[in-house]
Symmetry: D4
Subunit: 255 residues, 8 copies
């Protein structure tokens, strides 16, 4: 039941064409969402500044193409994460305007311009962490955040990081991507008091246990106030960064 329908019902009550009993029953069993959230999906797109995200891993190429073609009918930008080059090849045939970042394993389909605001600085410890860092970067970017990159500044060569701390100044949010022992989050946390989002990666072997070592390290950071997301979850970090940027600047699509 949308607003119009609700109004019609009340009008009917007022005019006597709808009995009190009937209106009462109608309203009592009224589905929650229909009152105000009837266009919840629309709303959600607007609220999040983004319509729909497709997580490609575990889907067949065929499924990915069909989902994206369905979404591409609407005037929204689309982000598809964890897509392989093969996935993209098939998508490209069907949706020529689709773009792909092999490093980030991300397909993007831009249907309307993205008003940019805010600044997110993404740091990564090693080159092997780049796919996750880039997934975060492209997620934040398509949501309208300006993204700066400071890559390969792992703590084993601390001076590369220290030489670049002036780049922290302009950033409003920092995303720190690191595998192995994940120490970069703590060091960055000690160098700034801006909001930090830490992304452990599964880079490592042996007692890394698939990213567990980095995850635990980040959760136990001696630098207080670091928010941690799931292992390899660059997408989640990008979304959280955008929600902070939005708290500062407002949603990009709102006006």
């Amino acid at each position: 039941m949308n607003e119009e329908q609700l109004l019609a019902l009340l009008q009917g009550v007022k005019e006597g064409s709808v009995s009190l009993d009937h209106a009462l029953n109608e309203l009592k069993s009224l589905p929650y969402e229909d009152l105000g959230f009837a266009k919840v999906d629309h709303h959600r797109t607007i609220r999040n500044g983004f319509p729909e995200v497709v997580f490609c891993q575990g889907k067949t190429e065929e499924q990915i193409v069909q989902i994206l073609m369905h979404l591409a009918k609407y005037d929204n930008n689309i982000l598809a994460t964890r897509a392989t080059p093969h996935d993209f090849a098939r998508v490209k045939e069907a949706i020529p305007e689709a773009d792909y970042s092999e490093l980030a394993r991300v397909i993007t389909i831009i249907k309307k311009p993205i008003p940019m605001r805010g600044k997110v600085l993404i740091l990564s410890a090693g080159t092997a962490d780049l796919p996750v860092a880039e997934e975060a970067a492209m997620t934040a970017d398509i949501m309208g955040c300006q993204v700066e990159r400071l890559y390969d500044v792992g703590v084993a060569g601390i001076h590369r990081l220290l030489d670049n701390t002036d780049r922290f100044k302009d950033a409003q949010v920092l995303i720190v991507v690191a595998g192995m022992e994940g120490a970069l989050a703590s060091v960055v946390g000690g160098l700034t008091d801006k909001p930090i989002i830490a992304v452990p990666t599964s880079i490592g072997y042996g007692a890394s246990f698939g990213g567990l070592a980095a995850l635990l390290a980040m959760l136990n950071s001696c630098a207080a106030g670091i928010g941690v997301v799931n292992i390899d979850n660059g997408f989640g970090a990008g979304v959280l960064a955008n929600s902070i940027i939005k708290a500062i600047h407002g949603a990009k699509y709102d006006e």
Copy 2:
């Protein structure tokens, strides 16, 4: 080496009283911090809007008293977390202006007014989660965030939460505190796109494994963009919330 000393050195070079070789050596081994960060601790207080936090757990009452008395000499506000009533009794004798929240297990010593800005909404799932929620609340509060509380809205009675979603509107950051299965974070994450900080608690038994169940649930939340801190780490959540508020409003002590 502070700025004066550096100037003196350069003056000496200029005047010839210091040889080039000597100056070169002096500068080459110059401790990094002395150049610009010599008053780093002072700086840190200003940057973070907070001087020093004392983690009382594992310290003797005597140690706590001594540390707090030392810190209380300066004109800074003080927060001591994980303090027992016995700890506070001893502190109160030595520092009469100290206050205590038994629920939050937190001692506060307010030496100067706290300019408030921003709004943090703290949700907790059950009453057993309150100590952690209050630790977060008092941490954010003493850092200058206005704190709202929405407690006992666990997902087993989802309507208590849904009846209060309008309270999300004013908040700029949400902190979600939950033990057991930690599902509250995901549900809240689906109801808002504001920045969410999730705090798993150790409330539970058996296969809760000391909060591991809630921690893993929050890290795997199907609602994207939730930053997770360590189990029972209300303090860390408060600090992160403040860093986001500060990104929006600026530091409170800066002017």
Copy 3:
């Protein structure tokens, strides 16, 4: 020793052709099963309302075909779980009446009509959970439970679930299938007091640890009274649902 043989023995005792000593010895060493459970497999079929289930995973196509052909000689319905399309292709050649659900990865061979009774509602959090949800659905179905489906109602969009709570009314048992953080079980548990069977799935990555996160969450649900089965064990959930339905309505094959 089956019933006839036992009767013959007693007859012999009665008639004096069998000595008391001999009968005593015969009965003392009588294998337990031979008394009443000699056709235990038959019995079991009748008791469970189902003859035999084949778990295909880890078996060669050849083995699966041979087992199913052997079972297909009898007048029982057959369920083969975790079957690949290749498995089915081979089975179909040998047993033309075999059917297959690619989504549920399940082969069914229906040899006699299934009297239906009871109603099981199966909820799933995300589309990736469907294979497990469908395995549960088809298991319950072939055992004679009417199955309703309420899919894709994960807690990140809680209104989709809330809009459909009226569908809980007719159900006698609910099966909740969810991966990632498994929060759906807790939310459903707070909305109904009907028996709930929770199935954690291995959907997720990183700190999902193959479904461990969802499993722990479901075991620690703040909504009391949820029975949990193994990760991805749709089959087990279907069997448990049927055992509850049977407690309400009786076995379908019994009359």
Copy 4:
């Protein structure tokens, strides 16, 4: 907003004393629960056949007494789990009609008669599992289930169990409580096709890892269709058993 208030609002619309705009706004922001679930707590009590349960562990004696005194004002039965003898001594002073089972660590306050229906059979493996078994028993009992007990039938002496399988016949639900290796659940699962709820206990040492061994065993049971609850969660098993009994017989307080 309860039904009366809603009716009044509609009446106002009808009579013209309430404008359409005002009514629309009122209804749009109407808290979900107020429409139909306004007396949700009341409802919940009626639905579950039980008003409120108090989990005493981690609460002070004082807190327990206050909560129970508050609840005891209403005409509902009360169950307080994980209560120590000291807890009870204090409660008894304040609420003389309170009863206590030291074995089950459970306080009960019976304010109105409990109509009994259904039959739950509770099996336990060893004497050390009795506290958990009795917590399940007393929970099911106060909810109106007739409880039968079959204790100390661990699989190391399988004949004690086999001698009593005829007791399975009358039961509608079985609860199996076992620590150490938790094998009893699987054996019972092979002997009946009635609904089985398995409760792992923390009884054991070393590689029992606080009940993890029994928990994993029960989740991996080769007998399909066993619902598992958290370690030591006798209460949860009792609630689930009651929900199944209620599906068979209906709620006891409903008429």
Copy 5:
């Protein structure tokens, strides 16, 4: 139904006072155990060469005394493990012939002589492992095994072990007790091909994880053919050693 009752039934059939139908029914539902295992507990004592073992941990002194007094009425030897000195003090008052090993934390009550046979050699790595080693020793001893001890031969001083390998010759079974890294089991396994029972202990700290390190090491021993029991389970090792000795020499109480 015991043998007499069975005989009476058959007699009734023979004499015609019992109908075939009735006898058939009686026998079909005959509890398994009643046929031949009616005195199963008695049997068990004889079979195992031991009547009853009491695991004291988690029991009150009062409970222990009552159980032991009950058991002490019969002419069987008794072993009570994990007993504290306080437990023993109470037991000694009630049962003056009770003995105690403080090191092994074991109470023994010897009511009849123990015929000894076989030889078990118990090795322990460090002095901290002695309680577990002695629990194994006293268990094997009271079951009639001659026990030799070779203590404090941890692998960090391998020569202490190598100097004593001649003591392996007479042993028929070896029990190896070790905490920390549990390496002694592997080394002993390489020096003999006699049956080896390995007992990991919880001695250690940090990454010993309560004996997990030793347990995993023993399970992964590069010396094939080592049977491992639970952490700190000296009793279980003693029982297994006795079962092997009995396979060689026969039960001691059998004649």
Copy 6:
């Protein structure tokens, strides 16, 4: 230094051709093994009743063939475990007398007759456990143990096991192979007091965690006196069984 060399040295001392100093030094630095264990490998073969075992997993076909050809030069029997059909095809070309069990994944090369003694009964819970059970069987067999098999007697159908307990009588050692929840070991342990070797298998999925569930269950068995080997380690179980049989009957190759 072998016995002859030692004798020669002493002879030299006696005859004065070797100085005391030189002899003293020679003896002090004498490698341990050279005194008595010089032919340790030979000895080991004799002691273990078996020359050499090859673990094929992780080796190339080429490596396996070369190792086996090298070993096949000597007059010893050979056991190669975890061999694939492809491995065997290559081995068969090179060593025509090699045999293979596809089920056990074991290659055997019999060069001399195996005197048999003792009796080992191998039980398995399910058909999926057969590869491990057969690895144990073939290991025990080639070491000279008579092997009996009692397969597919999992506890979900306890009567299949109970009907066959008379087969326990002749066995001197029992090996119990089970995956999933591993309950069979406990049940068997309650039915006999003969030595039991338990082998957890990795059969299962989800919360089986690669055999961990079965492993923990077996270690925590409520039936005392079960020796557990590594997950899937049929070979180790066979070796331990043989060491017990040898303790009873003596080594087969010794005479």
Copy 7:
């Protein structure tokens, strides 16, 4: 800013061509590294006696070739670890002087002679541990350590180790490589008081949990003073060994 530039600045100050203010600012904002570590990479090469290491795992052949060709332009030796034969085939085409150890999975490119000093003894438990042992060996070797090998001395045949303890004498550092239960580290630790580096390997199956068993064993060694590196981290062990050798003898490239 390198040394020359710094000197120029100071010269300018001395000569008056650079104002004090300008120099002060220049120096204050001077990137840390530029003061003394400007050629940090160069320095690092010199300090570590090694320019750059490439970890090939997870890189494409193309990436490996490009990185190595870039590095090969300079006059430094190069080590590429975890390289497959296919990787090497491609590298060999591009860089003919590249060498490969298939066992160690290591590519080396020697551009200048390596002055050798020190002695590292590498022990391995089994042949399956050789790839890790050889990775350690080749790492230490290319850094200028003389490497001795003592392979296949696992504790199951302790005499092979004991016969070779005289080889410990010349070594300055010992590296112990072992999988499965990792007991070799403890035994070696008891035989020498030289620095020991322990490398757990992932060799094993089942409860080895990918090397966890060996890792925990080594960390809990009863022989004090063993430094442990990550599972399978032969490279790390070689680097640590070299750092100790360098502490004794100095860096090889320093003069």
Copy 8:
């Protein structure tokens, strides 16, 4: 058999008073240790530069006193770790020259001067890590290493560490002690190529899991060549540091 006895035997052979056969037998069965390691404990003391270490945890005060009094009879220095103030009070009564560090929980009894050589730098991240750091310091000190301390240089305030990197220069070995996320080890590892020993501590809570987070982080350090010891094992770090110092300078007691 010590050297004199061996000489006497050889003398007997030479003189003919001992037959060749007798000497041969004597030598063949000669316990290994008696040849060269007869005074192994003495030797060990000399080799390790330390007589005996007592691990007090888990021992009664009485046991500690007795062990120390026994050891104090000899002219060796003594180190007792994990001693409580109460332990020391009792020891002090019995051995007046005993000293105690409450911080390090270490009792020392110095009976002869300690020749000092080498230099060990011990870094700790936080003040809570000091007990472990001091245990390492006092262990290294009593073994003759000069110990420098650089405490409270955790990575959250990286400049405190960077300001003191010049102190690395004189050190020959670095011990890094850190709890929580253990990142200090990686940062130090990137700043020096001297041997580094990392000690994770159990400082932390929640997802620190008793030091597991720090342990995993150190094992996965992106700075190659760090040797890790057990959680809280300051003693082990001190011993390893001394073994490296000894490799550089030789044992202190050797001359």
